[in-house]
């Protein structure tokens, strides 16, 4: 009989020790049936399933059983391990929710080795393009595929490329936008670090298609490892003749160069990014003219996000139709998200368009930390919005997220639980945009500042109901009148939090309370006498001597002296200090 392995995992987070009991049950049973030598029993750390009870996976057959009870153990050993029979009642047909297309090589190949990339089928798309495809054929495939820009706005990639291709100019440029400035998102970094050649290949194909011979990688200087690996990839490709003159014996020439960002969020906006590559301050300018007409050094230029470019090789190799077979009607292919915030398994996930938010957060992300309640999901970073829990079953695509007042964005997805305050979150994003506003246009420069001041006023307990209207009015003006995407979208977090959580704003304004306990001025600490063990630890640790009392009489907090630092709350071992 072939050697078997049993993976054992308790997928319910509340039952800490149960798994050891099951381990004993299984090992006793294996010993009793004399199978202990043939079968390895292993407790594992994560089985990719959550809240499904005790779960086992039997290898090499890959059989997964869920919700196992004590008396199932004997049956599993007898029927499945001994006789290779499947127990239908326990069986779980595990379907992976993730599709690895862009991240196909990430974590599998050595990113510093071009041989590894080629061995995994890399640069085959480039060969195909150079030998059997004309630029217009590439455009056709892109059109068939329905690929849309992964940087956030979702503009059809084929249209962008086609505009630039149609321009009559000796000089044209291809730019890879690797200025991933959205705090909380790192999809592009992972791709550049894990599979740089796929982005290179996408850029070379882009160059061939639009008739350009020069491309730039624009990468954040804060990503030194990504810069190092991309530079290595460029050097390797140049040495192998995949960059330079007469690439692979064709008459196509293409060169690549890296330019570093310098910590300006606005440079993710394409016209600002162009200014930055030109060596200037990254201030945007009005469009049209679009970069595909008049871009870098006034020449036709296409700017694509890292993930968009990383999609190109597999799209060309497999054909546009195959690419379009995944996803929804208007959003095709897969999307990489950086899943973070209050989710158990934060990390990088790649899912087909059209998957629901619930599946991403609960089936892949494992649910919310500490099994707390999810309050909302934030997508699109400082330019996006929040989506309340009622819409968890919304399929993820450009249109649906837009309808809900958020955006797909570049791929940040942040889970927010009931201990997070949305007024504070809106303030956080707004502060970011105010810091990053380049100052060129008034709606963004002044509007952002005013919004921030009102939010600060509200979170300090000085809000008035009229402020809600002011917030809405200013937000609207910024959306309509700002010069570039940064300003137009900077008020989105405010807009969407008011739209869905106006009640929470009212709590702050009318009741002067922050129920999540984030806005310090609206938090009050209290000692609960029934829980207090009179140890006096809080009094010793209070920096402002605001705690009065004695070991005999118990303690109270003097609200006049309390500076709301939370030291007593943190130090109390009996949870007798309450925030409200």
């Amino acid at each position: 009989m072939e050697k078997k392995i049993i993976y054992l995992r308790d997928t319910d987070s509340a039952q800490q020790d149960r798994i050891n009991d099951f381990f004993t049950l299984f090992s006793n049973e294996l010993r009793d049936t004399n199978l202990i030598e043939q079968v390895q029993l292993v407790k594992i750390a994560d089985i990719g399933l959550y809240e499904k009870g005790v779960t086992v996976k039997i290898l090499p057959e890959n059989i997964v059983y869920i919700g196992i009870k004590n008396n199932d153990v004997k049956k599993i050993i007898e029927e499945t391990i001994k006789n290779n029979k499947i127990i239908k009642e326990l069986l779980y047909e595990k379907k992976s929710k993730q599709i690895r297309a862009v991240l196909k090589n990430c974590g599998y190949i050595d990113p510093e080795s071009m041989e590894d990339y080629i061995a995994a089928g890399g640069y085959k798309a480039l060969v195909k393009v150079l030998t059997e495809m004309k630029p217009e054929n590439v455009i056709d495939e892109l059109k068939k595929s329905g690929l849309r820009g992964r940087g956030g706005a979702g503009y059809p990639t084929w249209m962008k490329w086609n505009f630039a291709r149609g321009m009559n100019s000796l000089e044209k440029y291809v730019i890879c936008n690797g200025d991933e400035g959205d705090p909380g998102a790192y999809m592009d970094r992972s791709v550049l670090e894990g599979d740089p050649h796929s982005v290179l290949e996408g850029m070379i194909i882009a160059g061939y298609t639009i008739g350009s011979s020069k491309g730039f990688f624009y990468i954040r200087a804060e990503y030194p490892l990504a810069v190092e690996r991309v530079q290595k990839a460029i050097d390797q490709a140049a040495a192998a003749g995949l960059l330079g003159s007469n690439i692979l014996g064709s008459n196509f020439n293409f060169e690549l160069e890296i330019r570093l960002g310098a910590g300006a969020f606005v440079c993710g906006e394409e016209t600002a990014l162009i200014a930055s590559i030109e060596g200037k301050r990254g201030t945007p300018h009005p469009r049209p003219p679009y970069p595909s007409v008049k871009g870098l050094w006034d020449k036709p230029t296409i700017i694509n996000n890292v993930e968009t470019l990383a999609n190109i090789p597999q799209l060309i190799a497999g054909g546009g139709a195959k690419f379009a077979s995944i996803g929804t009607e208007k959003s095709k292919g897969t999307k990489v998200f950086a899943l973070t915030g209050k989710v158990k398994n934060s990390g990088l996930v790649e899912v087909p368009m059209g998957i629901t938010l619930r599946e991403i957060i609960f089936d892949i992300g494992g649910g919310i930390l500490g099994n707390r309640d999810i309050k909302a999901i934030q997508t699109g970073g400082p330019s996006g919005g929040v989506i309340p829990r009622e819409f968890l079953d919304t399929p993820v695509d450009y249109e649906n997220l837009g309808k809900l007042g958020s955006i797909m964005g570049s791929g940040g997805m942040i889970a927010i639980d009931d201990t997070d305050c949305l007024v504070d979150l809106a303030k956080f994003y707004l502060k970011f945009c105010v810091d990053e506003s380049c100052g060129k246009c008034a709606p963004c420069r002044l509007g952002g500042y005013q919004l921030l001041r009102i939010l600060e006023k509200i979170s300090e307990g000085n809000g008035e109901l009229e402020d809600l209207n002011k917030l809405k009015k200013i937000s609207y003006a910024m959306q309509k009148a700002s010069l570039c995407g940064l300003g137009q979208s900077a008020s989105n977090p405010v807009f969407s939090t008011i739209k869905y959580f106006e009640e929470e704003y009212r709590q702050h304004i009318v009741n002067k309370r922050c129920l999540a306990g984030k806005c310090k001025a609206l938090v009050y600490f209290k000692i609960l006498p029934q829980k207090c063990k009179k140890c006096g630890l809080c009094m010793k640790n209070c920096p402002s001597n605001a705690i009065l009392g004695s070991r005999e009489a118990g303690y109270v907090i003097d609200p006049q002296k309390c500076i709301k630092c939370g030291a007593c709350f943190d130090i109390c071992k009996f949870k007798a200090v309450m925030k409200e």
Binding site: G48, A120, L225, K344
Partner: protein, 114 residues
């Protein structure tokens, strides 16, 4: 380096890709390195030599399970391919001794990503 030709790339068949049967891959992206992957990688290199464990040790990019970094993937003939998470230097040495040499999987460190 010699210039590649179209033929060189066309003749590769990724399905038949043979990267050997015994290998360990360490995820070495920023998040992995921040969590200590560099130390783990060095420990694996040094200790495998010191302990005479024959195994091919490589670097790779990010597999995505950031909260479980550092991630180490192990493939040893006769055993399924396994992804270990939250690997420390000590765990790395245990992997060499227990998994690679004695062909026994480690408890409590295997991660299966959905």
């Amino acid at each position: 380096m010699k210039k590649l030709t179209k033929g060189d790339i066309e003749k590769v068949d990724p399905a038949k890709k043979d990267i050997g049967k015994n290998w360990i891959k360490v995820g070495m992206s920023t998040c992995g390195v921040a969590a200590g992957a560099g130390e783990v990688y060095l420990a694996l290199l040094e200790e495998s030599k010191k302990r005479n464990v024959e195994i091919d040790i490589r670097k790779c990019g990010c597999q995505g399970a950031c909260s479980a970094e550092p991630l180490v993937e192990v493939n040893v003939e006769g055993l399924p391919k396994v992804l270990y998470g939250r690997v420390t230097k000590d765990v790395a040495i245990t992997i060499l001794e227990r998994h690679v040499r004695n062909k026994k999987l480690l408890h409590d460190y295997i991660f299966e990503i959905n």
